[in-house]
Symmetry: C2
Subunit: 375 residues, 2 copies
């Protein structure tokens, strides 16, 4: 147990504890992983948490009277700090007892410390495999693809998204699929020529990364990797994780090279119609809604034998032949929720082959869905 005495602002402590929160282990055989590691040196405090799947570190300014290292139970820390009075918080520990004192105004918490020497403290690894991209580009890649991952799957690669660059420093891609649908987003970015990055990262971790990257001003994210590890560094935060092992399916073979039918549809009209029609479908086993694309209009319908039927018609611009096809309503509404363009292009071949939804006039984002066979 080390002697330590520091003062931080409440705001910084909240920022750090929110940033590392998701890495605090909930169930673990190693109790120290349910804790937050604090390391105070030269006017700064580093806070870390890790459950081995992901590790997050955040470094904030601190007035360090006595440097030191402690581990505190993570379960209450964020809640506690958030409720403390005033703007400034003092954290101190004494060699003679196992207690850590957290003081703010007339509030005092005496918390039991955990053994700091058992905490698997980590530092950014050094490697020349590096790519730098802007946080808004990385957030866009995540937002447009990760929802298409499987939530649970016996094949772990489908619970993650593939992040890859082509090594030219010009293009970065993210792809996710649960085998019934696939989302692919490409982005141009300017970076010095880099090593080719190609790894599958857990959807849970990508979503968390996206959340903690949110910042008022754009910033660079430095991605470093080597065999079995990847790290993301930005602002005062470092996140490291292990990519998911396995071979991602060749997404180029999933995307049909041509389509026989294409319809241009107003995004919000389609979104609202699908939402209404699926009200009656959603309790059904497959949540099926039927689409009839004809020359001037699209008719969408659902049938729930216990409740009734719903019908919607909306105008479309059709190119190619008419077609009847059915989809899982959720796979359609998921994509419509995150499309930013006012119009989409819905492209189809046959009632049993994969269809695509794209943003109108945008070649860099494509969504593929498998239809549902109906009687």
């Amino acid at each position: 147990m080390q002697n330590m005495k520091i003062t931080c602002t409440k705001e910084d402590l909240i920022h750090a504890s929110v940033s590392i929160q998701k890495a605090i282990a909930v169930k673990t055989t190693l109790p120290v992983l349910t804790g937050i590691y604090f390391c105070a040196t030269d006017n700064k405090l580093e806070m870390q948490a890790t459950d081995y799947e992901v590790g997050i570190s955040c470094t904030i300014p601190a007035q360090v009277e006595k440097p030191g290292t402690i581990v505190l139970s993570g379960k209450y820390f964020q809640d506690m700090v958030r409720h403390l009075p005033g703007d400034s918080v003092q954290i101190s520990s004494e060699e003679e007892d196992r207690t850590i004192r957290i003081t703010a105004g007339a509030s005092q918490f005496n918390l039991l410390s955990m053994p700091a020497e058992e905490f698997p403290y980590f530092t950014p690894f050094t490697t020349d495999k590096t790519v730098i991209i802007q946080d808004n580009i990385l957030r866009e890649l995540i937002r447009k693809t990760v929802f298409a991952c499987a939530v649970e799957d016996t094949r772990p690669i489908f619970t993650g998204a593939l992040l890859e660059t082509d090594g030219s420093g010009q293009c970065i891609r993210m792809v996710a699929t649960n085998t019934h649908r696939l989302a692919l987003r490409k982005m141009n970015h300017q970076s010095e020529a880099d090593e080719q990055l190609k790894m599958i990262i857990s959807s849970k971790i990508l979503n968390e990364l996206s959340k903690i990257m949110a910042n008022d001003h754009p910033q660079d994210v430095k991605i470093t990797w080597q065999r079995g590890k990847v790290g993301f560094q930005f602002d005062d935060i470092y996140l490291k994780t292990c990519p998911i092992d396995g071979q991602f399916p060749d997404y180029n073979r999933v995307i049909p090279p041509t389509f026989e039918t294409s319809a241009i549809i107003v995004t919000d009209e389609l979104k609202d119609a699908v939402e209404r029609v699926s009200l009656l479908a959603r309790d059904g086993e497959y949540n099926v809604i039927k689409f009839i694309f004809s020359e001037k209009q699209l008719m969408i319908s659902s049938n729930n034998p216990d409740i009734g039927k719903a019908f919607e018609t909306l105008p479309i611009e059709l190119t190619g032949k008419e077609i009847e096809i059915a989809f899982n309503a959720r796979y359609i509404s998921d994509i419509l929720k995150i499309i930013d363009a006012p119009k989409i292009v819905f492209s189809l071949n046959t009632p049993l082959s994969a269809a695509s939804i794209r943003q109108h006039n945008d070649e860099d984002y494509i969504y593929i869905i498998t239809p549902v066979r109906t009687k």
Copy 2:
């Protein structure tokens, strides 16, 4: 199956379906109770739902082309109406089939009808047992007491609150208790001399009543009752229910006539301190926090053997002798959340006898709590 054809505004249909929603049966042996009853006559549409415990009716304006009566599944109706396009909704049925058509813009729902003749249609009962009170008075009575009810109890009277008048038309009271705490609110009101009302009403129903009474402008609520029934009429809504049978405890015997110690405390300071201290107590079996009232200050503390201790001190104005006492933290924080006054009076006798919390300078609201025995 009756022929019916009406047009309503979407806004009115949403208002009516939200108002009656809680009365739609979810689990029932009589399927028609999962439906909404629609009765269209002379330029108005009455919608009703009942699960026998509570019945709610709401009447809205309608353009009635053909009057009639139908019952529709209630499960989807509110969601469906909310999502319909445009401002106006047409509802129609035909004698020849069992389908009811709901049309708005290019959206059409063909819903199966339920047998309207099986629906237990209700009308306000006539009686001269009546009292009229303003909705804001009734909402205040509910807000200040109903949280103190038991959520589940083998003795049903503790899951409801007692509503009573003294028959003078001057005073109305509501009382709730779960046997560990009790809340009593008295309000003055002006009404013509009325019969004495005294009945226990389910907390769930009172909370729902409070929600649907919320209106932009103050309005009168007419309460009518007779043996085994009570009805609330306001605006375009009528709610009827059966009071809970049983003898409510004599709350006058629960309220100590005098206290040996009284402390005046700033409400927000106490609320924040209790919230922080209870962070460590809330996972404990009894969620116990300790209060030490001394001459100049109150010290509040909690002790969680696995995590640590929390201490708070705050200034108080004490009259009487010093005392140490412990309470269930939730019973303290519940009342502090709904107190409107800037200061409270905390009054005590001994560490094992009931204490009270009141708003400073307010004799019409009293909260009684039983302390927790500590080692």
